[in-house]
C-alpha cells in the first residue's frame, strides 16, 4: 500500500444562515496515496468537522453526485486521485451553479434543461410490447451509444464559459442527450427536439470552446455532439430555404 502523507485540504465553505459570502477553510488530512479527494472529504466529515456538506454516493464514478472544482478544474471527487496532486488541494463547489451550502450546488436549472429537450424515445412507429423488440444492429447501436454514457454530473456545465456568461444556454449535456435520441434508429422525434435545440439559446449559443469534452469523465464528447447538431441544423436550413421542394 502506498505510504501516508499529509495534505492541506482547502475547502470553500458557505453557510447561508451565518455567512454573507463563501470563505475558505483548510483541514490537515492524513491521506493514503491511493485515496481519491472524496476519501479526504469523508475523512474530514468523520473525524474533523461533521458540519461539512457535500453530495456523494457510489464512489465509482457512475452516480454523478460528487462533482466539485478541484484545483480549479471540474472533477468527480471519486475519480480525482490524491497522488495526482501536490500537498495542497483546493475543493470548491462546481462553477456556474449557485451555492446552496459548502460544496452543494443548486442544480434545478440543469434538470429543467435536460427535461426540456424531450430526452426519451419518440418511436418512429407504434408497436405493441407483444410484437417484440425494435431491431437494432450493433452498428446502429454504436452510432449513438457514446452519448448514452452521460451520468449527468454537470462537470461540462461547470467547464463551459458560455453557460457561465449566458445562463439561458441549454448547455452541453442536455443537447448531447437530445442528439443521443436523434441518432437512435428507433427514434422519430428529431423535429420536436430541433424546436428546442436548434435555437439561439440552444446549439447556436455554443462557440466550441471544447472544454466540456475535455472535462467529461465518461468521454461522452458533448462538444462533438453539439457540432454535429450544428452541421445537421445548417443542412436543414439550406434544404428549407434553397430546396423547399425537398421535404425533410
Amino acid at each position: 500500500m502506498s505510504e501516508e502523507r499529509q495534505i492541506q485540504l482547502e475547502v470553500l465553505r458557505y453557510n447561508p444562515e451565518t455567512d454573507s459570502q463563501p470563505r475558505y477553510q483548510t483541514y490537515t488530512v492524513p491521506c493514503v496515496n491511493e485515496w481519491v479527494v472524496l476519501d479526504a472529504l469523508n475523512y474530514v466529515k468523520e473525524n474533523l468537522d461533521p458540519t461539512l456538506s457535500y453530495r456523494w454516493s457510489c464512489h465509482m464514478a457512475v452516480c454523478g453526485s460528487c462533482g466539485y472544482m478541484i484545483n480549479g478544474e471540474p472533477k468527480l471527487g471519486c475519480k480525482a486521485f490524491i497522488h495526482e496532486y501536490g500537498d495542497h488541494i483546493r475543493v470548491e463547489p462546481l462553477a456556474n451553479f449557485p451555492i446552496e451550502r459548502d460544496l452543494v450546488t443548486v442544480v434545478e436549472d440543469f434538470i429543467a434543461k435536460l427535461a426540456s429537450v424531450k430526452p426519451y424515445l419518440i418511436p418512429k412507429e407504434d408497436k405493441p410490447i407483444s410484437a417484440g423488440e425494435f431491431r437494432q444492429t450493433p452498428a446502429e447501436l454504436k452510432k449513438y451509444k457514446q452519448y448514452t454514457l452521460c451520468i449527468n454530473c454537470m462537470l461540462c456545465y461547470a467547464a463551459c464559459p458560455q453557460y457561465g456568461l449566458v445562463p439561458e444556454f441549454l448547455g452541453p449535456a442536455a443537447i448531447s442527450m437530445a442528439h443521443r435520441y436523434n441518432q437512435d434508429s428507433r427514434d422519430g422525434g428529431r423535429d420536436q427536439r430541433q424546436e428546442v435545440i436548434a435555437t439561439d439559446e440552444g446549439v447556436w449559443e455554443c462557440s466550441f470552446v471544447g472544454a466540456c469534452s475535455e472535462v467529461c469523465p465518461k468521454h461522452v464528447d458533448p462538444a462533438g455532439a453539439l457540432q454535429q447538431v450544428k452541421v445537421a441544423s445548417t443542412i436543414d436550413w439550406y434544404k428549407e430555404h434553397l430546396m423547399p421542394w425537398v421535404k425533410k
Partner: protein
C-alpha cells in the same frame, strides 16, 4: 407545516420507484403522483448495477428453467407463487424498457443479446455492456419526464409514515435544502427505497444505501422478512469494495488461488471447465453464496494471495483479449485501472467477497402489498420473496421493474376501493409528533455520542459477527452490541445546527435506520439455527427444512429487540432438493 395532497406517494426514485411512477401515470393521467427521494433520481444506486437483467426471451430457454434456477438458487426459501408471477412478467418488462429506448446490447441480426450469469442453466441475462443498471435507471428517469402528472420531490428524506384508521395515509419528509418538514397526504404509499448494505463497512453499496425505506415501514409496524440473508458478491475490488460484475465470469473469466488452481472445483462446483469456455451452473458460474463461501475456506487453508488490502483470490480475464473486454466489460476495465492501477487485459485482478445485496426486506405479498393497507413496497427494500436465501444474479434489476409496476397497480386498486375520508386532524397530529422527534434530535445539545462513532461500531460489529460464516456465540454478541448502540443512539448530539442541507442530521437519521435494520439481521440470524443460502452457521451446518423452511418476520419495538415470528414458505411445484452446481453430475 405545509401539507401536500397527492393520490400516490412513492418513496425512492431508483429503478422500482420510477417504474411504479410511470405505471401510475400511464394507467391514469389524472392521478397525482408524488415521487419523493433523498437524492436526484439518477443518483439512485440502481445506476451501479453492472451485469444485466434476467428474462426469458430466447427459444432455447423456458419459464420453467428460469423458475428452477431462481428457486434452487434461493435454496428453496423463495415463495414459488411470487417467483412464477415474476418470471412470467420479466420478459414483458424488459421488452417494455427496449421500447422506451434502453440501449440493450444486440446480436448481429438486431435482436436483443443475452449473456450467461451464475447459477443459470441457460443464458438469459439481457445486458447493456456492463452498465445495465445505469442504462435502466437513466432510461426510466428520462421516460418519466414525459409525464406531467409525476411530481418529483428531489432531495426529500422520508421521516415517518402516517397510519390512521388502520391504513397508511401518507408520510412526513424533510426537505433537505430548507430543513423544513412537509406532510404528504396520500391514498396509497409505495416504498421503493433500496437496500441497507451500508450496515457493513466493506460493501459494493453506495453511501445512500442505508435501509431508510425498510426502517420506515418497520417502525410503522410492518415486519421485516428474512433480513438475516445478506448476499456477498464474490468479486469486489479489495481496496474499496467496488463491484466487478458477474459478467466477468459469464464472459469467461476464471477464479484462481495463489497457486493458480481454479479452487472452485474443490467445493462441489467442478470438474474444471476449459479456460475461456464457461459452462453454465458450473465452476465460476456457480451461485454467489457458494463462491463467496469457497473464498472463506481458501483463506482458512492459506491459499489466498496476500495484498496490501488483505487476503484475495485472483480473477483472471486475460484470455478474453482486449477486444472482448472493451466491448463487453468496458466499465470493469476502467474501474480496475482507475482504482487499483491494474489492467485486466494484462494481469489477473485480486478480488474478495463483498457485501452486495439484502435478500430480506419489507414483508409484502405477491401483490407487493404489506400487511398495512395502503402501503406497498418494491425493489431491494421489499421481500416478496423471490430471492429466498440467495438471490440469483441478474434477477434484482428485473425485480425492480416487475414489482415496481405491480406495486403501482395495487396502489391504484387500493385508492379505488372506496376509502373513507381521511381525518386531517389525526394525520396532522402524527405529522407534528414526527416533526417534534426530529426537532428534539436536532436541538439536543447534551449528547455524548457522534454519528461517525456509533456508525463505526455498528459496521465493525456486523462485519465481525454477521459475515459469510456465523456462529451462535458471535451472533449473540452482535445482538447485544446492536441493542446497546440503539440505546446509545438516544444520546446522539449533532454538531451541525444549520437548517440548510444539514448532512449531519441526514447521516444521523440514516444511522437510526441502519441500526434498526442491523438488529433484525443479527436477531434473525441468531435464531435461524441452520445453514441455508447466504446464511451459513458453523454451529448448524446443514439446512433444516423441518424447522426452518420458513420466513423470519421481525417486528419492531422501540426499546426492545424485535419480536420474531415465522411464516411458512409458499411451495407450488418444486419441493426442496439438492442444489447441484457440479458439471460432473449432469
Amino acid at each position: 407545516m405545509e401539507i401536500i395532497k397527492t393520490d400516490v406517494a412513492i418513496v425512492g426514485a431508483g429503478g422500482a420507484g420510477l417504474r411504479a411512477a410511470i405505471a401510475l401515470a400511464e394507467a391514469d393521467p389524472k392521478l397525482r403522483i408524488a415521487l419523493i427521494s433523498k437524492v436526484y433520481p439518477m443518483r439512485s444506486h440502481t445506476c451501479a448495477a453492472e451485469g444485466g437483467a434476467a428474462g426469458v426471451i430466447k427459444s432455447d430457454d423456458s419459464l420453467d428453467l428460469h423458475f428452477n434456477d431462481t428457486v434452487g438458487g434461493g435454496d428453496w426459501l423463495c415463495d414459488q407463487n411470487a417467483v412464477e408471477y415474476f418470471i412470467n412478467e420479466a420478459p414483458k418488462e424488459l421488452m417494455q424498457l427496449e421500447h422506451w429506448g434502453c440501449p440493450w446490447s444486440r446480436e448481429p441480426d438486431g435482436s436483443v443479446a443475452v449473456r450467461p450469469f451464475g447459477g443459470m442453466k441457460i443464458k438469459r441475462t439481457w445486458f447493456a455492456a456492463d452498465k445495465s443498471g445505469f442504462h435502466i435507471l437513466h432510461t426510466l428517469f428520462q421516460t418519466s419526464l414525459k409525464y406531467p402528472s409525476i411530481q418529483r420531490f428531489d432531495e426529500y428524506y422520508a421521516i415517518d409514515l402516517l397510519v390512521d384508521d388502520g391504513r397508511c395515509q401518507g408520510l412526513t419528509a424533510l426537505e433537505i435544502r430548507s430543513g423544513e418538514i412537509k406532510q404528504f397526504q396520500a391514498k396509497s404509499v409505495i416504498i421503493a427505497a433500496g437496500g441497507a448494505g451500508k450496515m457493513f463497512p466493506f460493501t459494493t453499496n453506495g453511501a445512500i444505501k442505508t435501509g431508510d425505506g425498510m426502517a420506515l415501514a418497520y417502525r410503522a409496524g410492518v415486519p421485516l422478512k428474512d433480513m438475516e440473508f445478506v448476499q456477498y458478491h464474490p468479486t469486489g475490488l479489495p481496496n474499496n469494495g467496488i463491484l466487478l460484475t458477474e459478467g466477468c465470469r459469464g464472459e469467461g473469466g476464471i477464479l484462481v488461488n495463489k497457486d493458480g488452481r481454479r479452487y472452485l472445483q474443490d467445493y462441489g462446483m467442478g470438474p474444471e471447465t476449459p479456460v475461456g469456455q464457461p459452462v453454465l451452473k458450473t465452476m465460476e458460474l456457480g451461485p454467489r453464496d457458494r463462491l463467496s463461501q469457497s473464498f472463506w475456506h481458501e483463506q482458512r487453508k492459506g491459499n489466498t494471495v496476500s495484498t496490501p488490502w488483505g487476503e484475495c483470490v485472483l480473477l483472471d480475464m486475460r484470455h478474453l483479449g482486449e477486444k472482448k473486454i472493451n466491448e463487453r466489460l468496458p466499465l470493469v476495465r476502467d474501474l480496475c485501472i482507475s482504482y487499483l492501477g491494474m489492467d485486466p487485459v494484462k494481469e489477473p485482478i485480486p478480488i474478495r467477497p463483498v457485501v452486495h445485496y439484502c435478500m430480506g426486506g419489507i414483508h409484502t405479498d405477491i401483490q407487493a402489498a404489506t400487511p398495512v393497507p395502503g402501503l406497498f413496497a418494491a425493489g431491494e427494500c421489499a421481500c416478496v420473496s423471490i430471492n429466498g436465501a440467495n438471490r440469483l444474479g441478474s434477477n434484482s434489476l428485473t425485480e425492480l421493474l416487475v414489482f415496481g409496476r405491480r406495486a403501482a397497480m395495487s396502489a391504484i386498486e387500493h385508492l379505488q376501493s372506496g376509502l373513507s375520508a381521511s381525518n386531517d386532524t389525526a394525520l396532522s397530529a402524527q405529522a407534528k409528533a414526527s416533526e417534534d422527534r426530529i426537532r428534539a434530535l436536532f436541538e439536543r445539545n447534551t449528547g455524548t455520542e457522534t454519528v461517525a462513532g456509533l456508525r463505526k461500531e455498528m459496521m465493525h460489529t456486523m462485519e465481525e459477527n454477521a459475515g459469510i460464516y456465523r456462529t451462535g456465540e458471535e451472533l449473540q454478541r452482535a445482538c447485544e452490541k446492536i441493542a446497546e448502540l440503539r440505546g446509545r443512539y438516544a444520546n446522539l448530539a449533532l454538531t451541525d445546527k444549520s437548517k440548510v442541507f444539514n448532512t449531519d442530521l441526514m447521516q444521523a437519521l440514516e444511522l437510526g435506520s441502519m441500526l434498526d435494520c442491523a438488529e433484525t439481521v443479527a436477531v434473525g440470524a441468531r435464531d435461524r439455527k441452520e445453514s441455508r443460502g447466504a446464511h451459513q452457521r458453523l454451529d448448524f451446518t446443514a439446512r433444516d427444512d423441518q424447522n426452518f423452511l420458513k420466513h423470519t418476520l421481525a417486528y419492531y419495538h422501540p426499546k426492545e429487540p424485535p419480536r420474531i415470528e415465522y411464516l411458512d414458505v409458499v411451495i407450488t411445484k418444486s419441493q426442496p432438493g439438492v442444489r447441484d452446481y457440479s458439471g460432473a453430475k449432469k
